[in-house]
Amino acid sequence: MADPIAIPADLRFRDDEPADEPAVSLDAFLDQPDAVSVRIEGGDDVRRLLPMLDRIQLIEVDFPRFRDGRGYSSGRILRESGYKGELKAVGDVLVDQLLFMRRCGYDSFAPNEPIDHAVAARALSQYDFVYQKAADGHTPVWALRHG
């Protein structure tokens, strides 16, 4: 296990300034050509954002219940499509999901319940190796094996 990583106090793993607009619903966002922040509900199709990824600064994805894994696909689709802005997981986000969420491209978190930062640090540095490519750029084991 690597050294525990530092957890930002606000659970935002980005250096840039946060968007200063609150996130609006997907439908509202699609109606507002100047909006830069959007909120995705569990059942929303994130591919509706693909034509305008360049102007988006913040995408919040709701995880209504921690067992609902749709947000992992949403995150990954956005990153695969070239989204570079802030991708925030909000809602029923538990410390044991942080690693998967990071791997799916999430770089900030707004959990309903406070997260123990010491536990989070351990959770995020638990695995030195991963089996598959994902949105976090971690080199998968097969690439290490074959150079």
């Binding site: 296990m1 067992r67 894994g69 749709r70 990954r76 695995y127 190796f129 991963v130 598959q132």
Partner: protein, 544 residues
């Protein structure tokens, strides 16, 4: 078989440490049961009727003697002296303490075993043909592909919180010994139009409350695209599968609701979107894995005959020895269904006997099957007698494979908190009723599969005779189904009529068997007679 490299070992070791921490947080109260449950399920740990139950993965049903001996050690040290092989080739221990689970997992990790994703809404154990590497009719050994998929689907970050569990089954033969059409994704290795290896892809099979046989969604998928295609299937389901009703969340429901054509269209579209991302694990990695599965050093020119003068030995050979691709060798299936015993259970001592036999007579190769038996895949025919003698001493030589007394049974209400009825006492009664060896041989191939509840872990939907235990106003009641098959001729068993008491269903099975004998053609097995004459003659015989 596959051996971990430092990366595989590091991943399993990290998982052990992670779970140790999670268990500590549960025991200290930092985590509620509601929060802990999905985490412990991801490590195969259930809370059952009497204790915690740990389901240890046996990837694609392959074990070496060292691993079998570790299972014996776990049974002896942490459980009550025995383990149970499941219908997904895994091993379950029914008397586990939560506080000892981190230690158990740490020990399993020392022999390259784990309980990762054997439960919960995860991608589960990849099951495969138990005769892989030994069968004459396979186009290649499917297990390297199973290992390739296992690694790809372990801790996959996008697919760790799926709507429901997800099961892969693999075969490389036209004869389906792995029941792939009853899996969420069934993969058959085939040659493509240009002679290259690839997969025939089936999606949407499964048992449970609403059983389905998988639909063929792709005739040929090139091997190099397997990972991205799997991602497409999972992503379509992860995004669109129902999450409102636990009984409607498997991918089979989505395939059924959309129709196979529309489902396929969505998968193909998603696949086109995923392909540019280069997620496919390159074939050089497949080749690295496959190098672990080269055939053992078979001897050439061995005697292909078996001396069957001893009638008891001969009866056992008849049931338990199958054709091996290498002349002079046989595949041995060990029945774990002694008459009056508990199907699929093995004591620690029996595990050690099998480990020793595998080491001595089967190139240290052991398999578990989805019908709860164990296979010694590479036994010289000249060694069969010695193997049989050793099995007999360990009460592992029952000559009933695929006969009526060799039942496939879930643990049922004797162990399982999900069950509605007990399944094991019924299995014992049926086995005892039909114990007579000559009668069994006369009846011939007849697979009875019993489930203690609608979750169908006993695979009753694909029993030639299936039994489903239900709760009828607080009393155990049993439904009789006929005509199922998990093989390449897959079919779902149909219920014949009102249910029975435990003794009642034993009688119903008796009448079913007698009716079969009365109307069968020469050499026709039960399933074929049923398919020929239909359910009516049986209904009449059973209900009068």
């Amino acid at each position: 078989m596959y051996r971990y490299d430092t990366y595989d070992q590091a991943i399993v070791d990290a998982r052990v440490e992670e779970f140790r921490d999670q268990v500590a947080r549960r025991i200290s109260g930092e985590m509620s049961e509601d929060q802990f449950k999905p985490l412990r399920l991801k490590n195969g740990l259930y809370l059952q009727l009497h204790a915690y139950m740990l389901r240890v993965a046996v990837p694609y049903g392959t074990l070496n003697p060292e691993q079998m001996r570790m299972l014996a050690h776990i049974a002896r040290t942490y459980d009550r002296g025995y383990g149970h092989f499941t219908t997904r080739q895994n091993m379950q221990f029914h008397w586990i303490k939560l506080e000892q689970t981190p230690e158990i997992l740490a020990k399993l990790a020392t022999v390259q075993m784990h309980a990762i994703q054997t439960s919960g809404e995860s991608i589960r154990n990849i099951s495969a043909d138990q005769f892989a590497g030994a069968a004459a009719d396979e186009i290649c050994d499917p297990r390297p592909w199973a290992e390739y998929i296992r690694q790809f689907t372990t801790f996959h970050p996008e697919f760790s919180y799926l709507p429901r569990k997800f099961k892969f089954g693999l075969t490389a033969s036209a004869t389906d010994r792995a029941a792939i059409k009853l899996h969420d994704v069934g993969l058959q290795l085939v040659y493509g139009p240009d002679g290259d290896i690839g997969f025939r892809v089936y999606v949407g099979g499964g048992m449970g409350r609403t059983p389905f046989i998988a639909s063929l969604i792709r005739d040929f998928l090139p091997a190099a695209s397997l990972c991205s295609y799997i991602e497409a299937i999972l992503r379509v389901w992860n995004r669109n599968g129902r999450r409102d009703n636990i009984h409607k969340q498997r991918i089979k429901i989505l395939v059924h609701d959309l129709g196979a054509e529309e489902f396929t269209r969505q998968v193909e579209a998603e696949w086109q979107a995923i392909r540019p991302n280069d997620d496919d694990i390159p074939l050089v990695e497949y080749e690295r894995i496959a190098a672990h599965f080269v055939p053992p050093p078979f001897e050439e020119g061995l005697d292909d005959r078996i001396d069957r003068t001893d009638p008891a030995f001969s009866a056992w050979v008849e049931r338990s020895a199958h054709t091996h691709k290498q002349p002079g060798y046989a595949i041995v299936t060990v029945s774990l269904k002694p008459i009056g015993g508990i199907p699929g259970d093995l004591t620690a001592e029996q595990m050690e006997v099998l480990a020793d036999l595998a080491e001595r007579y089967s190139f240290s190769d052991l398999r578990s099957t989805h019908e709860q038996n164990v296979v010694l895949p590479h036994v010289r025919k000249s060694d069969l007698y010695a193997v049989w003698a050793a099995l007999r001493e360990a009460d592992l030589a029952t000559a009933n494979l695929s006969l009526i007394s060799e039942l496939i049974v879930c643990p049922g209400l004797d162990y399982c908190s999900l069950a509605n009825a007990r399944s094991l006492p019924l299995a014992q009664k049926i086995a005892e009723r039909f114990a007579d060896e000559e009668r069994q041989r006369d009846i011939g191939e007849l697979k009875i599969k019993i489930s203690g509840c609608i979750n169908a872990c006993g695979h009753h939907h694909v029993g030639h005779i299936g039994v489903l235990g239900v709760d009828k106003k607080g009393t155990e009641n049993y439904q009789l189904l006929l005509g199922g098959s998990g093989a390449e001729d897959a079919s779902l068993a149909k219920i014949v009529g009102p249910g029975f008491s435990e003794d009642g269903i034993v009688e119903a099975v008796e009448r079913t068997v007698e009716k079969y004998r009365a109307v069968r053609n020469d050499g026709e097995r039960f399933l074929d007679t049923y398919r020929r004459v239909g359910v009516e003659p049986f209904k009449e015989a059973i209900y009068g």
